[in-house]
């Protein structure tokens, strides 16, 4: 149905693009983030209504049916997913977006003979397919459908290079011939490349890959906008591609790593695969009651939550413990390492879900100087992010990663499941220091016991 002339259509698309820019801007500050997201959703709604009112469309009942199906599948999942499983859901949504872009490009091939347009088509096909398969593997890793360790096999770099070369060759052939069969082959090669790209990445680095693939999907969408001559798709896709690139670099910088190192580190051996050997050196282990006394008579406690807390779903117990300590007049803060949890910023979401006000969540740069004034640093299920080896041992895989300076606190208490090293697979010297004590067990159980003991003081 054509109710809108081209000028109005262009104006409405422009408005939608502005809403997307405002959305990203809003999402950059805690105060405006939620409104920003709603502004983005409104922009998307506006764009979808505009396309229905401005283009000559057949099959409208089918299209509306398909939209209903997509909504009926995605909305309940998004609403019900546990916050700890949210990273893999984001990966999944990203993947299907990339897949959609690739399919759109595939169908547009027969309508376009112009070589430049065909170039945009092969780009969308390839990058969309890479994003789809890469996100699929990422999902499988995070959902623990497969191992979270890097998957490497001899000859992987050669296979990868062969796939990429074949993809470039096929892409050139598609541009020259416009063959649909070759375009499908290109998609298959893209899927293979996407899987091979993510397989060698270790569990702790997977979030950065999600962000990178997010940027990829953005670029694929931008290219599909070139194919369709749709300015909104070009602007929205480019925005996501550009902001996603910046975000990926920011995340990698927070881990003290380079994006290239994460992607190709495993090719050279290394990456995050480390030993899981357990050391025999003595440590000071303590009981929940000891920990409760330490905490209950402190003046200032800084809690350092990590991946183990997220896995044990202990965030609510941690929040209760903080409340119980505050009721005793103790100053409690949470020190959040940028990569705590499973994604950068994930820990903030988990603690926010447990009703910890965001004023208590301190960023690393803000809190690092304050450990000196803390009586107790309580490290719950974190290891690498507090490992001094990142500063002192230049041979260590985490060397250069900024860490939380818990060693400066008067007492350090680790709640750990076992002496097994963290993701990076390296020993933490801090565990053997005289001011350190350890309480072994599942993070949530240990927290609950400590909480009980604090209440009984």
């Amino acid at each position: 149905m054509i109710l809108l002339d081209p000028v109005w259509t262009a104006l409405l698309y422009l408005a939608a693009a502005v809403f997307f820019i405002l959305a990203l801007r809003g999402l950059s500050s805690p105060r405006t983030a939620r409104r920003g997201n709603l502004v983005g959703a409104f922009g998307a709604l506006l764009a979808v209504v505009t396309v229905f009112l401005s283009a000559r469309l057949e099959n409208i009942p089918w299209i509306i049916g398909a939209i209903a199906v997509g909504t009926a599948v995605a909305a309940p999942v998004a609403r019900r997913v546990k916050m700890t499983q949210m990273p893999q859901l984001v990966a999944l949504f990203n993947g299907v977006g990339g897949g959609a872009a690739a399919l759109v490009a595939l169908l547009e091939l027969s309508h376009n003979a112009d070589p430049w347009t065909r170039l945009a088509i092969v780009f969308t096909l390839l990058v969309g397919a890479v994003s789809f398969a890469g996100s699929g593997v990422t999902f499988a890793k995070l959902q623990e459908l497969m191992t979270t360790r890097p998957v490497v096999f001899p000859g992987l770099p050669v296979v990868m290079a062969a796939v990429l070369l074949a993809a470039v060759g096929t892409a050139v052939a598609v541009v020259l011939t416009g063959s649909l069969a070759l375009a499908v082959l290109l998609m298959v090669l893209g899927l293979a490349a996407g899987a091979l790209l993510v397989l060698p990445v270790g569990g702790a680095d997977v979030p950065i890959v999600i962000s990178l693939l997010n940027a990829f999907t953005g670029l694929a969408v931008a290219a599909s906008g070139v194919v369709l001559g749709n300015v909104l798709l070009v602007v929205a896709g480019t925005l996501v591609g550009a902001s996603g690139t910046i975000l990926t670099r920011a995340m990698a910088a927070a881990m003290g790593r380079s994006v290239a190192g994460i992607l190709f580190g495993a090719f050279r051996g290394g990456s995050t695969a480390g030993s899981t050997a357990v050391s025999e050196r003595p440590v000071r282990s303590s009981s929940p009651e000891d920990v409760a006394v330490l905490l209950g008579y402190a003046q200032r406690v800084i809690i350092v939550p990590g991946y183990g807390l997220a896995v044990a779903q202990g965030q609510h117990t941690a929040a209760e413990l903080a409340l119980a300590l505050e009721a005793r007049g103790i100053d409690v803060d949470f020190a959040i390492h940028p990569v705590a949890g499973r994604m950068p910023g994930h820990m903030n979401v988990l603690l926010a879900e447990a009703n910890v006000p965001y004023e208590s969540l301190k960023e690393m740069s803000e809190i690092n100087s304050e450990f000196r004034t803390a009586d107790v640093a309580l490290v719950v299920g974190a290891n690498d992010v507090v490992n001094p080896a990142a500063k002192t041992s230049s041979g260590s895989p985490i060397y250069g990663m900024p860490i939380l300076e818990v060693a400066d606190a008067r007492q350090v208490v680790f709640l750990k499941r076992s002496m097994r090293p963290g993701f990076a697979g390296i020993e933490n010297e801090l565990l053997y220091e005289p001011q350190t004590s350890l309480l072994f067990g599942d993070a949530k159980d240990s927290l609950a016991k400590v909480l009980g003991a604090v209440k009984a003081l």
Partner: protein, 96 residues
Amino acid sequence: MDGMSLLTITVLAVFVGFEVVSKVSSTLHTPLMSGANAIHGIILVGAIIVAGQAADPWVLAVALLAVVLATANLVGGFVVTDRMLHMFRGRKGVGK
């Protein structure tokens, strides 16, 4: 639209994209990634256009699959981001 205008728009959009997220705190990395993820679900517009022009049943079937996938990306992305951000509350219920 001619190639030069598209190129101009693309380059400007790159700079806007760099600019708007350059100062974001790590607290918001996850919601920002998720929100950006939802925005590229706008490929739905492209999928609708292709489905609306489909004459062949096979083409329509593939295009409708693209519509379903794109909708999942768009709707799911915004809903999950909203859920995340719903939890960012201040002590006195501020922050909205």
